[in-house]
Symmetry: C2
Subunit: 170 residues, 2 copies
DNA sequence: AACATACAGTTCTAAAATAGAACTGTCAAA
DNA sequence: TTTGACAGTTCTATTTTAGAACTGTATGTT
């Protein structure tokens, strides 16, 4: 599979993975949420090669996740700032951190704590149902096709090769 | 950076990314949550090469995210089932899907809907503060070092090369 | 008996992505 | 005049991934 194709699959997860689903991109986004804004900042914080960093930043800008804002003229320099679309990635980041806090910490405990300004307490992120407010777990959720589903009879995707992907959505 | 190193960084996000932060792994996990359990099931659903699939499944088993359970003798065959550690990835998956539903759908709308068995309604996942129950956003959260933080003065990491990563945690 | 099929891998080569280092170019400060 | 900060770009070497074929056990078919 070419990764461009991912973004066109009838699956919100595949599409999202096509955009942010690689290691460096996720780490770059971590830095964004930690307020890093400049090329050298990302590079020295992450140890990523300059080549890849330039690539990934371009992609994130193309995708509307970062905005490239000039902060000085001559030589022209820019900062990379999260757009609203980028800020909306926050639950993904927090969910990843929280899983790591739960399953990947050593004896020393969590590297970082998160304090909620509104209530002043250190917290964990909890994912709840938008309708009833109860915490969610996989077993309590039933998945069913929505309007954008690629229904089996329609469009009749050829599925030429035996090894091609069946259509599947999420 | 070698990806093994990621798992040892003092950052829950880096560690988690080291385990599940690549495209195929995330897609394999999607299939797991959609109840796929067998090698051929994953392969035909995703179109992943058999070689990589075998690799990734092994890694997920090593990490305790999947359990390999025999379902027949001679020839020995196994199913791959999510452990509790694997099931705990659900908020990450839902957060990814939800972002895609918000920012990556076409005119046709969402490919999949999610129904909460408890309340019976189609829902969106919402991330809230465990302490006060309010929805979270990046701007309302203050991050500070926890017990597992790699504090600057201690341990005195050499940081030999100019291009090596500064220590950074999340 | 001979053949095809299901299943779960393993093994190969070619193509693509990433690592690592060096280089470019503008400007400011020493 | 030299050095350093900054934001890249360019190059080669290494590592990963893609793609296809092959292995091996067992069942079902002709």
């Amino acid at each position: 599979m070419k990764w461009k194709e991912l973004e066109e699959e009838p699956c919100s997860m595949a599409r999202t993975i096509g955009v942010i689903g690689d290691r460096w991109t996720l780490l770059i986004l971590r830095e964004c949420f930690l307020r890093t804004r400049r090329f050298e900042g990302f590079q020295s914080a992450l140890g990523i090669t300059r080549h890849l960093l330039a690539e990934r930043l371009k992609k994130l800008v193309r995708q509307g996740i970062l905005r490239r804002i000039p902060y000085q003229e001559s030589p022209k320099r820019h900062e990379y700032i999260l757009t609203q679309k980028g800020l909306d990635l926050y639950p993904i980041m927090m969910a990843i951190v929280h899983w790591g806090d739960t399953h990947m910490v050593d004896e020393r405990g969590r590297p970082l704590l998160h304090q909620h300004r509104k209530c002043g307490k250190d917290f964990d992120p909890v994912m709840v149902c938008s309708e009833c407010g109860e915490p969610l777990s996989a077993k309590e959720v039933h998945t069913h096709p929505g309007p954008g589903a690629r229904s089996a009879p329609a469009a009749a995707a050829p599925t030429t090769s035996k090894t091609k992907a069946r259509s599947r959505a999420a």
